[in-house]
Every structure is written in C-alpha cells, then in structure tokens.
C-alpha cells in the first residue's frame, strides 16, 4: 500500500461518512428548510471528498481531470438546486419549522 492509496482511502472514508450523515439528516430533520442543510452541504462535500479520494488514487491523468471537472460542476449545480428548492418552497408559502413545534 502506497501512501497515496492510504490517503485516498481516508478521503473515501470521510466522504462516505459525510454522505451517510447527510442521509440521516435528511430523514431526521423536521422540515424542508432544515433538511436542506444536510442535503445541500454534507452531500456535496461528501461527494467531493470521494472524488478527491479517487483523484489521489488515480494520480495525475485525464481521468483525474475529469473527476475534477465533475467536482467543479457539482459545486456549481448542487447549491443552485438547493437554493431553487428552498426558494420554491418559500414562494409556495411553506413556513419553516421553529423550535418547539411538533415533529410531523
């Protein structure tokens, strides 16, 4: 095992962890607005982590460049989608959950 492999595995593990956490968050949180936080952030970062791990594993090549491109685009599109989502929810008049409300 080379060092890069170990580092890449580390990244993979972290990314994996983040994605699972995000999934739990999506299930656990009480309303759209709060669920959007794990979905919009942890997911994106977890994804990025995994891709970075893969990049490190692969070394410098066109494959890594492609991975990088994917990461960049994910970072562009994901928050936009997230924003669009809350924006729409807001426009539809959905009230955010506040502390003390019953969980639905």
């Amino acid at each position: 095992m080379v060092v890069t492999t170990i580092i890449s595995y580390l990244f993979l593990a972290v990314g994996c962890f983040l994605i699972v956490v995000a999934s739990i968050g999506i299930i656990r949180f009480p309303d759209v607005y709060s669920r959007i936080h794990p979905a919009g952030k942890s997911d994106t970062l977890g994804q990025a982590m995994i891709f970075i791990g893969l990049m490190i594993y692969e070394g410098l090549s066109f494959v890594s460049i492609k991975l990088l491109i994917i990461v960049i685009f994910i970072f562009i599109t994901n928050p936009t989608a997230t924003h669009a989502l809350v924006n729409a929810a807001h426009a539809a008049g959905l009230k955010p959950w506040e502390k003390g409300d019953d969980r639905n």
């Binding site: 994996c16 759209v32 994910i74 599109t77």
Partner: protein, 84 residues
C-alpha cells in the same frame, strides 16, 4: 474498499428513499431525489474504479451536468404551474 464504499452509499440512498416516498411535501421529495442523484454520481464513478474502467466517468459527468434540469423543471412547475 471501493466495494465497501459503494455499498454504504447504496445503503444511504435507500435511507433517503424513505424520504422520497414519505414526503410529506413535494419539496421533501425533490430534495431527497436530488440527494439520491448526487449519490448516483458517486456510485457510478466508484463502479468505474471497481471495474478499473474510467469510461464510466462520462456518465457521472452527464449527471453532474444535467441532473439539475429535472430539479429545476419540477420546481418551476410547482411554482408556476407551467414550464414555458
């Protein structure tokens, strides 16, 4: 390692699927579907590495680029009632 990661991600996706089906609002569903979308991108890339064939990345790139369209379309319809 890749296999394990992929399995865990599928597992996470199944968790999220609960939210897709359960809702309760349409936004929850879109949100969860979007989350599954990002997981899919990862999965496809991972599978490419499992098989040692990097060709799969092209597919992941498709999702990175255009998965967003469906989300926008759903939201626009939800908000405006039309797509044009």
């Amino acid at each position: 390692m890749f296999d394990a990661v992929a399995t865990i991600i599928v597992f996470a996706a199944i968790l999220v699927l609960y939210r897709v089906i359960k809702g309760p609002t349409i936004y929850d569903r879109v949100l969860a579907a979007n989350a599954i979308g990002t997981k899919t991108v990862v999965l496809i890339a991972l599978i490419g590495f499992i098989y040692e064939r990097p060709h799969f990345l092209d597919i992941a790139l498709v999702y990175a680029l255009i998965n967003f369209i469906a989300t926008i379309a759903i939201l626009k319809y939800q908000e405006m009632g039309r797509l044009d």
